[in-house]
Symmetry: D2
């Protein structure tokens, strides 16, 4: 940690900071400049927060220089981690496209969806049984019945299933239905109690980025899961909130190379929620794979116009198939496979 | 709802939209312009979502024109609602300043805090027992023990207490300690399961704005609580996330007159989390009251430099007292009292 | 234009709106719903602004439904426009990579740069002679001398040159040196007087997106140029400003398919200013091309560490060459060529 | 400047950084920690940019610790600067409300406006002759004729006039009409050539904040003006761009105490452009004054509904008068006067 002291710092003020550092078990290096004096803390700075120092007299600012995340950081683990989902590797050379409808509606809809997901060449399936909706007056998901329908539909094609957990009290039900991948949604990225719960189990977790979460907060949220013992974490970029109103969110492709540098864990992208319109999905999917994403979480519905939620962002089965073709070409161009 | 059809719309495309509207029990008014054709939906549009129409051929856009929130809207209830907290009114002519430390640390710290809160002339007290922290490696709050300490300290001065609920599983404990006001934090504004739970009880709820929540999403989050039957809701603006890095958040004062127009419920402001620095708190507090806020949620600590969390944003007891004086003058200038 | 009238609208209020519409030469369609009454304006709504109606009694909101931009819109011109730069087409099947240093430093540096740009297979060259710098105390560009150096260096390889115009008073100098493409920088996207000036000449213009400009404002800025008669406009996405602090800007890839839908003009991307770090440039470049961009504006410097400005974002000549190889593969995968 | 070196830094890498620092005339202090090594630069760091170091091998990050602005900083000038505008002080104990219409329309409209401005007790008048409009197809201002009309109208009440300069080529006309205060609009905050020009004259300048400019960029923009010799600069906060769509901009009240800490120059607020609606103006004005602003730039129109631009944000003469009353009370409450 670096502590910057203002222009007219006194020896007493310096002493107070140094004492506080030493009380925490670190030592201080003092560098007197012309306009500022800088104190460098030597030792394990994770014990410190900037707020411990900024209210002290004479202190202008304080900042961490070491990363606050440990287990998920690439510094702690140089090699890429490959998360295994029922035999399907995420994070290796092979790219995984996880497809399926926004929400579980009926057995027929899910059976058809599973068939189309499989035929398009995808190896994992998504679908929501518990749905976070902005309005209390709209469809809130089929709940437990939805998990049952989803399990049945996916079983025929041996597709591992990905679905969202919104509340710790539903976790037992998720384990009962043996959900293969637990998705933590954007609104729950900093639901720390929920993160702690999924940190205690050994199921892979897809951690979506909060709508306006910084890279650093996102990595710290993953650290909450990892600190509990569960290291099977997959980051999922899904668009961030900005001033632009033409599209729902801005897909942050820069997050892909940045996460690849900061963490050893896999990174996937949800192009459907990012743009919010089906016609944007191919371009965004292509961009994500070209930028180095390990996979996609993409919405496909047998008949999008009839979908019970987010009807305007689902691809048709044919569109998904066409997209898979293009993505295969891009994967090859960057030395990967689909 | 308004549905805008593109330039070269066909009769068949218009027919599909009209049929979908009629199937939902509404009727259609068609207005043919030169560049666009507009369909107005007549009936209860809360049954509709724009996504039901935007994927249909020929549709360019669809938007709600009625408000999606009902119970919390001023349209449904013209008069200001006054929330009663153990006899203290929030939302009336009198302004309430809720003060106290960021987190419960020790009995002594809380006893002192209660004394200073009372002496400054504040009628309610705040303090956190369960703390949402960005890092899993920092202090997470005293938990249940903290509630006990807080209750004891506040009792001597008959100060109703405000504290944050982070997980539905803690609700029984909150009821057991008879917490007077349950605070839903910024990270949980769209934790819909938690909102549903506090909607079922009859305790006042302070609903903090999500870090990047729009006014409309915030009102809808309150509607989740209200739809469960609990109408004792107080909105709390606490700064929003922007591009600016000098301060932690940008206090959105415009939200105050806007909420006052849109809802009958009280609106308070947290100037401490907004700016993130104690020296900004007086200016922000004054701005909030001048803009029409019904109260403040402000951090005060007996010895800020020793606070276990957010040490740089707490006022000292003397600073709080001085601020109360200035706020009283501003309250008078706008026809209210402190 | 749609004008939404509040719940308890009176006939007199409706009449005022209708009169104002008719005075502007349009007619009104009135649709009475249960909660709102909607007035649709029939006629050329570009004569209207929402502000003409929102202050009138009873009006709740007013919004355009037709696009405000005409000449640059795809509605007005269905086919892709190909901008010709000295025989090099931008906006067709072939993708153009415009490379070169951030700023013109010396003749030797520019001669070397031109050589490397040419050897990498790029057909156009960039370089700044007039530099917009945040601080008045840093290098402000070589000015007119820089144009001379740039012209000489590019001539040997017959590379058309792209450089930034910051002030209308420099335009004659730009024409004197026969600058092939005039770049309007992000800080000048809404410098309307400057836009009007470049609208009067017949040189291709690269219009960078403002740091926080919406798609709609950007299209309107282009319309300023087009309205003057110059239709040779190339849009350049260069990252937008958000809350994220890890990288300088967030490259908005979604803008690519959206602009391709809204306008017939070419769209390129500046991956160097978007990320702000050379190591991010390959991933961002690949994403941009995969998402459908017509080209890139990328920084390359013979010896990046010695660059006089933005040293940390320039590729080395070897990195540029390697990137060109990967981009060629991606171009093929989406049916284009490099 | 602080330069942070990565975990496995070598002596050679340290040497390269130290050499570069010494070549620029500074010296280095090296602090070796457990996870990072930090180099502190001792000397005048304004000669350095972080980009000079970040591309060097082993460097993880580099950051300024001294302020980049000098003349405008409070460090360089402890006392508040009072800008004198024809005898009216801005920045002292007395608060100034600058009122008038968005744009100059007719002599009659301006004569009436001047009368109402004077009667409300305001001492300065605003009005736009050259208007920056998003669309090239809307009213662009009366130009030079507008200055003439404005001068005539204001003369009768001896009101100094404030009007916007959009292009350096109009500066002579502004001087010819003896415009008392030159306003630099939000879109031109980083039009560096324009800033340099107004830096050469001795007229007071109101520098509006760019739509998404950071405090630091804004101060640097002022430094451009100050570096030319003109120190009569008034900062004007006018709302920033965020994700919120209910209002045009978010008035950033926090900027007021922050600027007061960072600079000795006056700070005023434009509540009209911030909110974009007349009904929000009183609350925002009150907040601004309560937070410590030295004045306001507020829109008033004799008949708002007939205004040629921004009709929905102008106060009526009566509303202005009422607002002045409330502001007077708030000024007193904080020890100032109106």
């Amino acid at each position: 940690m670096i502590i910057v002291m203002g222009r007219e710092v006194t020896d007493e003020q310096l002493g107070t900071v140094v004492n506080k550092l030493e009380a925490a078990g670190l030592t201080a290096n003092i560098s007197r400049g012309i306009e500022r004096t800088v104190i460098g803390a030597i030792g394990d700075e994770r014990k410190l927060t900037p707020e411990m120092f900024t209210p002290l007299p004479g202190v202008e600012s304080a900042m961490h220089i070491a990363k606050q995340y440990k287990i998920v950081s690439r510094e702690s683990h140089r090699e890429n981690t490959i998360v295994d989902i029922g035999g399907i590797p995420v994070g290796g050379k092979q790219i995984q496209i996880i497809a399926g409808p926004c929400s579980v509606e009926t057995q027929e809809q899910m059976d058809l969806s599973a068939k189309f997901v499989h035929e398009a060449g995808c190896r994992l399936m998504r679908g929501g049984a518990f749905k976070p909706r902005t309005s209390p007056y709209t469809f809130q998901g089929k709940g437990k019945e939805g998990l049952d329908i989803f399990r049945n539909a996916a079983a025929k094609y041996k597709l591992p299933i990905v679905t969202e957990l919104m509340d710790a009290r539903q976790l037992d039900t998720f384990l009962e239905y043996d959900v293969d991948v637990i998705q933590i949604g954007t609104r729950n990225m900093q639901n720390f109690d929920l993160l702690k719960e999924v940190g205690k189990i050994n199921k892979p977790v897809i951690l979506k980025r909060g709508m306006s979460a910084t890279i650093s907060e996102w990595l710290m949220a993953a650290e909450y899961i990892a600190a509990g013992g569960n290291h099977n974490i997959i980051f999922c970029e899904r668009g961030i909130r900005t001033f632009e109103t033409y599209y729902r969110n801005v897909l942050d492709v820069t997050a892909i190379p940045v996460l690849k540098k900061e963490t050893h864990l896999p990174v996937i992208v949800d192009p459907s929620h990012a743009g919010g319109k089906a016609w944007m999905v191919p371009a965004l999917s292509q961009a994500a794979i070209a930028a180095g994403a390990d996979g996609l979480l993409v919405e496909m519905h047998p008949t999008p116009c009839e979908a019970w939620c987010d009807a305007d962002q689902a691809l048709t089965p044919d569109e998904l198939k066409a997209l898979m073709g293009t993505l295969g070409g891009i994967a090859n161009a960057i030395g990967r496979s689909l």
